[in-house]
Symmetry: C2
Subunit: 195 residues, 2 copies
Amino acid sequence: MKILKKEIPIEVSARHIHLCQKDLEALFGKGYRLKKLKNLFQPGEFAAKEILEVKGNSEKSLNFRVLGPLRKKTQIELSKTDAILLGINPPVRDSDDLKDTPSVILIGPKGKIKPKQGGVINNWRHLHCNFKEAEKFGLKDKKLVSVKINGLCALTFHNVKVRVGKKTRLCLHLDTDEGNAANIKIKGRGEIINQ
Amino acid sequence: MKILKKEIPIEVSARHIHLCQKDLEALFGKGYRLKKLKNLFQPGEFAAKEILEVKGNSEKSLNFRVLGPLRKKTQIELSKTDAILLGINPPVRDSDDLKDTPSVILIGPKGKIKPKQGGVINNWRHLHCNFKEAEKFGLKDKKLVSVKINGLCALTFHNVKVRVGKKTRLCLHLDTDEGNAANIKIKGRGEIINQ
């Protein structure tokens, strides 16, 4: 797979939760609808106003922002720093690949649940793009590439998984540990290089 | 500078504090001596039993372990994740390079101080070695190298500063953000590659 050298945008994702309809209603009440706080970079995705308290196996809890729209399965995404604080050990996984993942207690204004199917993951670093961008840069869905970030804390992330979607826009998603390691607070730039 | 490919040990440093004599006494009482908890990998260095509460500009505080022996200047080392939580923005710096660094409130059992000279840094990722190891691997003090870490979360840290000392042992020091980004909990292995 030949990859052209290409500068790409980077976004750092802080811990967050995607909810399914059933869990949304268990936490916020029957018929509840998420309130949009702001649109995210990926079309259709938004940060909701709702925040949930999350408890794992430690004494501490953390607040997680809910993202919309709703999904088929509830998914809780966090960094390894967050996981250590909550006393849990989630695997590094792609979105929706939730088999044998740990669970946590989600605390909302109208209820408290511990999803039976687990759902906590440290999201595998990934590069979103649409079919047109994939063709332009020689990227293939689920293939691995490397992305170099320059600056004082320069580093190259290997094993970045390409995720080609219909409506997605070219962007590398990192968690807060990865973003901080590269000295990227919220948004940055990187360059796709050969794996 | 030619660098041989070489596997090296890696250690992740959690947030910690080095104290000067004056600050130690202000926090723990006159004539106080640190109690050793365990020796660290670098000869002469140790983790002390003492813990200090640290407050920055946010409502939250964090506990920091004190390391020994005492130093000429108090130095507080933390990750960017820790800094965000405390509401401060320390620079990425080498040890002892404390000019114009922010300060925090240190809370001990016998007193509370805010060091006037600042002292909070995000320690520049660095590779310790002694003169013999430096010669063997073609490393020069203060020069920059890259270190690659393999595995699921493989990455290459660039701008790793070499620190050659008389008694130090070959080891890459990372902060917890960097360690987590590479999926290294406490100890790991990496390989020096050309910068």
